[in-house]
């Protein structure tokens, strides 16, 4: 198994509060890795360090090392290039106020892809991979804001895929969705792991159990347990993990 993302002794603090207390975790290539834990456990902070979106928040102090394919990303200046390799889907679907088509080509256009056929192709492929193509293929020109919440979130996934990233980070992507939309996203993710490395942050333990290959349990800024999902869910080594996945707290 290839390690795609290596997180080593990652610490982060916000003011006097320590959000991450030394996290070390290997994320494997072409797998879905689930990060679970109650809110405030630091799981979202880790992914905003991996995609460097944390740069837009004030007051964070970060130490430790995150590397992708062996290259350290915490020190680099060019976070713009990094975000073309690491796509992100946020908890709330945020379509840009423009058409479905224009939403998807936003990223490719930034990469100076202007050929109409190529863009059409990217739009089709991305929407198909996100299981949205059949629902919108006849109205690509209509506003993305007119889609339902579930469709918008799949659009956001498709928009991320259009970047042709290596890694996809999903920060509680189904928290506001109905079960059917959630199922569609999960189905898409299970297909996508063939080509991408996926980190799925969720506080829905059932979802993590269903689709992730590896899972990590975070609590109060520490990683309590990490391992293959099946082992972790059937035979957790630590009491806290067991309590969390059996729904005793969280």
């Amino acid at each position: 198994m290839n390690v795609k993302i290596k997180v080593k002794d990652l610490k982060a603090s916000f003011g006097t509060q320590q959000v991450l207390k030394g996290i070390t975790v290997d994320v494997y290539k072409n797998m879905i890795t689930g990060f679970m834990g109650p809110s405030g456990s630091g799981k979202s902070t880790i992914i905003s360090i991996i995609n460097r979106m944390i740069d837009f928040e004030d007051g964070f102090k970060i130490s430790g090392c995150v590397s992708i394919d062996g290259g350290d990303i915490t020190g680099i200046c060019n976070s713009v290039e990094l975000r073309k390799r690491v796509g992100t889907v946020f908890a709330v679907p945020i379509p840009l106020p423009r058409s479905i088509y224009e939403n998807i080509i936003y990223g490719p256009r930034l990469n100076r892809i202007n050929d109409k056929d190529e863009l059409d192709n990217i739009v089709r492929e991305s929407l198909k991979k996100a299981f949205l193509w059949d629902e919108v293929k006849d109205r690509l020109g209509t506003s993305a804001l007119k889609l339902s919440g579930g469709q918008q979130q799949r659009l956001c996934l498709a928009r991320t895929l259009a970047l042709k990233p290596e890694i996809i980070l999903l920060d509680e992507p189904c928290s506001g969705l109905d079960p059917i939309s959630t199922a569609k996203i999960e189905e898409a993710l299970s297909e996508l792991k063939k080509d991408y490395t996926i980190i799925l942050v969720s506080n829905n333990t059932k979802q993590i159990a269903r689709i992730s290959d590896y899972s990590a349990f975070f609590y109060m800024g520490e990683m309590v347990e990490y391992g293959p999902t099946e082992a972790l869910f059937t035979n957790p080594k630590i009491k806290k993990t067991e309590d969390y996945i059996s729904g005793k707290f969280g």
Binding site: M53, R83, K84, T88, L96, R98, G107, N111
Partner: protein, 278 residues
């Protein structure tokens, strides 16, 4: 004594209705008077001919051109400058003493009466820089005068763009510049355009500051260094000096009509932008 909620509601509704009708009523009255007094004197000659005998006869073509040129060039100067300042204040700096000073300065400038700008333009551009009364002196003065409006309206419009849209843009690999131009400005366009429209209105309706800097020549300005007269100035002089009230009203009518036209055009453009980015 407590009044019943139902009655309060009724009184409020009648009150607000009356107020709205009153406001619209004033507007309609003004336009009707201008229309009735000016309409009969408007014909093609009035629009396309030069004035004769100080404006007692002939048309107002040079004033129409003077107005268009002054407004257009001022907007061309002020928009990039004002918009740039607004973008700097909202997207490229963090709140600090420095931005507070700039903002305070802008707000103070917005409150200064236009005659002061006119006086400044006269002393600085006309006298000190020896530019004389000319279109350029007028344009520069008007640019300074409308800058605060453009900065403030643009800043408000840019601030109203949800932070989430910026975050998404960055997450898709956009730089700050790409985010500002492709997401922020397109979403803020209607607000920015409103600021530009207000500014055009101020320039077109300005008299004192224009007379001080652009002068009041009746000739058609053919370069930025020529003096000229806007419709508002023409109207003012015709009425003030008792030259011709008929021509004054006709000029006023053309002025009102052109402002309406500009507004319609701007809303048309705005709708195009909004329908594309929504």
């Amino acid at each position: 004594m407590r009044i019943k909620p139902g009655i309060t509601d009724k009184i409020a509704r009648i009150g607000f209705n009356a107020q709205a009708f009153f406001t619209v009523g004033i507007l309609v009255t003004i336009i009707t008077i201008i229309f009735l007094k000016g309409f009969t004197h408007i014909n093609l000659e009035f629009i396309f001919a030069s004035p004769e005998d100080m404006g007692r006869h002939g048309g107002i073509f040079p004033s129409i051109m003077g107005t268009i040129l002054l407004a257009l060039v001022s907007i061309v100067f002020a928009t990039p400058l004002g918009l740039g300042t607004a973008i700097f204040l909202t997207e490229y700096t963090k709140e600090s003493v420095f931005t507070k000073i700039i903002r305070f300065g802008v707000e103070s400038l917005a409150g200064i009466p236009s005659i002061i700008y006119g006086l400044f333009g006269f002393i600085f551009f006309v006298i000190k820089l020896k530019m004389g009364w000319c279109l350029l002196s007028g344009v520069l003065t008007m640019t300074i005068m409308i800058l605060p409006t453009i900065i403030r309206t643009s800043e408000e419009a840019i601030k109203a763009v949800p932070r989430n849209l910026r975050i998404v843009s960055y997450s898709l690999g956009a730089t700050r510049w790409e985010t500002v131009t492709k997401v922020v400005l397109t979403s803020a366009a209607p607000g920015i355009l409103t600021g530009i429209m207000l500014s055009i209105g101020r320039v077109v309706g300005e008299t004192a500051a224009v007379i001080f800097t652009m002068g009041s020549s009746l000739r058609l300005p053919t370069s930025l260094m020529d003096s000229g007269r806007t419709m508002a100035v023409h109207f003012y002089i015709l009425a003030r000096e008792g030259i011709s009230m008929e021509k004054a009203y006709a000029t006023a009518l053309i002025l009102v009509f052109s402002i309406t036209l500009i507004n319609i055009l701007a809303y048309y453009i705005m709708n195009k932008v909004v329908s594309r980015y929504s």
